[in-house]
Symmetry: C2
Amino acid sequence: MTYRMPAEWTEHEGCLMAWPVRPDLWGDTLAEVKREYAAVARAIAEFEPVTMVAPPGHGDEARAHCGTGAGAGTGTGIAVVELPTDDSWFRDSAPIFVLDGDGRRAGVDFRFNAWGRKHSPWDADDRISGLLLEHLGTPAIRSGMILEGGAITVDGEGTLITTEQCLLHPNRNPEMTRQEIEAELKARLGVTTIVWLPYGGALDTETDGHVDGVCAFVAPGKVVVQLPADPGHPDYVRMRANRAVLEHSTDAQGRPFEIVDLPQAAFVEVDGREVEVGYLNFYLANGGVVVPVADHPEDAAALAVLAAAYPDRKVVGVRARVIAYGGGGIHCITQQIPAATQTTATPSTATQTTATPSAAARA
Amino acid sequence: MTYRMPAEWTEHEGCLMAWPVRPDLWGDTLAEVKREYAAVARAIAEFEPVTMVAPPGHGDEARAHCGTGAGAGTGTGIAVVELPTDDSWFRDSAPIFVLDGDGRRAGVDFRFNAWGRKHSPWDADDRISGLLLEHLGTPAIRSGMILEGGAITVDGEGTLITTEQCLLHPNRNPEMTRQEIEAELKARLGVTTIVWLPYGGALDTETDGHVDGVCAFVAPGKVVVQLPADPGHPDYVRMRANRAVLEHSTDAQGRPFEIVDLPQAAFVEVDGREVEVGYLNFYLANGGVVVPVADHPEDAAALAVLAAAYPDRKVVGVRARVIAYGGGGIHCITQQIPAATQTTATPSTATQTTATPSAAARA
C-alpha cells in the first residue's frame, strides 16, 4: 500500500488547530494571541470544519473565544476537543496526513522535539499526533525522524520542497545523513523528487528556516516565493538564491517551476519587539486562502498577489501580528485533514500508534 | 598596524609549492602527479620565481623533475628547499600573506587540520606556515582558527567571498559561530565585507566546497563563476544559486559584481575513477594565468573565456588530471607571496611564530 501526502489544495475534511494557553510562552501577549487564534479559526470555518484542540480544562475558554463558527449547522463550524498539548503549532506537531491510491487516509506521526529542543516541555506535543489520529479513527504510521510539517511543502504529484537550513540542522536529526532524510521523506510521504532550497528566513530563528516562510505550491508546477523587494531586507539575497534553485530545477513530473513572486514584507512592533508578519504563511482551506496580515500598508498588495495566484479561491486576510511574534503564521497553526474517499482500513505497511490515550482523549 | 590580504593579481615576489611524495595518498598515480606538479612549477616559473618545498630527503628528486625553470638566472626560476610537510596543497597549509598600508609583509598562520581531519598525519602541515615564514624572514601572525586558503577569495579592497558549505562545516571550527568566524576573517585579513555563497562543488568532498572551485576575483568588482552548462552536472543548480547571491550582493566598496560565466566542465577518468578537472582553479602569476586543463575537448573554450577575462595576461593551460584526482587544481597547490614594498619589520600587533624550526629548516 503506497501512501502519498496530498497537496494542501486537495479537498479537506477539515482543519486541526491547537489553543494557546501558556503564559511562559506568550507573556503579555497571551490574551491577544487567543483573539488572533480564534479569528483564524472563524475565518477557516467559513470554508471547512475546524477542530480546535484545547488542553484539558481550557475547552470552555476556547469555545468562548471561537464560538461555533459561521458555518455551524451547515457542515462547517468549530468544534473544541480537549487533549493534552504543550504548545499550539499544529502544522508542526500534528500528524501529516497521507492518502493511498484508493483514497484511504492514514496519518504519519513524525517525532517532534520543539524545533530543536527550544521550548520545554514538548513531550505532550510529541504524543499529540497519536492522540489526534485515535480521535479521528485514522491509522497511524510512525516515523522515528524528527520532522515538522512546516519544513516541507508538496505538490501531491511526487515533489517535495524543503530547506537545508532547517532539515539539515544538527538540532533535528544529527544522526541521519541527507540521503537518509531523503529516503525517509520518500518512504513516508510518497514523494520521488526533493528540491532542497539553501535558505529559510534569516530572522526565522524559531524554526531554523521552515519552507512555509519561503515558498508554497500554488498548483502542480507552480510555486509562490517570498522575494522581498527591499535590498535592505535580511532575506533579499537569500530568497533570490532560493528562487534561482527553483528556476533551474524540475519537479517530479519533469516540469520546470512557474514562479509567482511575493515581494511584500511587513515589519511591525509587537510587545516592544520588531517582528515580520510573513504573507507567505497562508492556509489553503476548501475554496479559500486564509492569509496572515499585519494592519500594514503592504497588506493589500500581498493579498492582491495571492488573489491573482489563486483566482478560483476567496482570499481572506486575518490579523496575525502576535502569531508572528510567537514565531509563525496561519500556516504554522493549522493542519489540514484531507478528505478520505474510502473508509479507512488499517494499512498493511502501517503500525498502529502505541501511545496510550489520556483520560482527556477518552472523555 | 592594519594588515590586508592583497588580491592574487597584486605583484608577487614568488610562488610557494610543495612536492608530493606520499604513496599512501597518491597510490599508482604518484609518478604521474610528480610530473604534473613539475610542469605546473615550470609554467609558473615563466612568470615568477617558484620555491618548491620538498620533505627532507626528497629535494634531489624534486630538482630532477622540476629543473631550474625557464627563467633561471633571469630573476625567476625554481628553487627547491627541504622542509617537513605531510601533504602538498600549499594553498591550504601555507601562510596567507598580508600587507600593511606601508607595503610591509606578514604571514597569517591559521590552524590546519587536513580539511576536517581527513588525511592523517597533518601535524607537519599544521606547522609548515611557521617554518615557511621563518625561511622567508616574514613575521608570523598566529590565528587559532582552522582556515585553508582555498576557502576564501579576496579583492584586496575589503571583500572576501567564501562558501557556507566549507567554512561553516562542523569539521572545521565547530566551536565558533558564523559571527565569530566573520570577526576572525576581518581581523586577520583586513576585510570588511564577507559574501557567503551557499555552495561549493557537490563533488568536492575533499575540501567540503572550497570557493576556489566556485569563483575567483578577476578584478575589483568582477568575478568569474563556474556555471556548468549541462543540466545534468551535479552543480548545475547549485552554481546558479551561488550566482544569484553574487548578482544581488555588493562588495565592500558598494559595487555590484560584474560576473563572467565559465560554463565548461571536463570529466576524465584517472586511475579508474571519474574526476572533474575544474578550469576555475587557476593561479594568477605575474602577467600570467596558469589554468588546469584535462586533454579534453572543453579545454580550448575554457581557456578562451579566461583569456577574454584577463586580456592583459598570458593564459597557459597545464595538464592537471591527476591533481584533480587528488582533489584540487593548480590554485590548490600554489600560494603567492605578494611583493613587499618596504623592508618587513616585526609588526606591533603580530606575534612571532614560536614553532621551533626543524633541523631541515635550519639546513
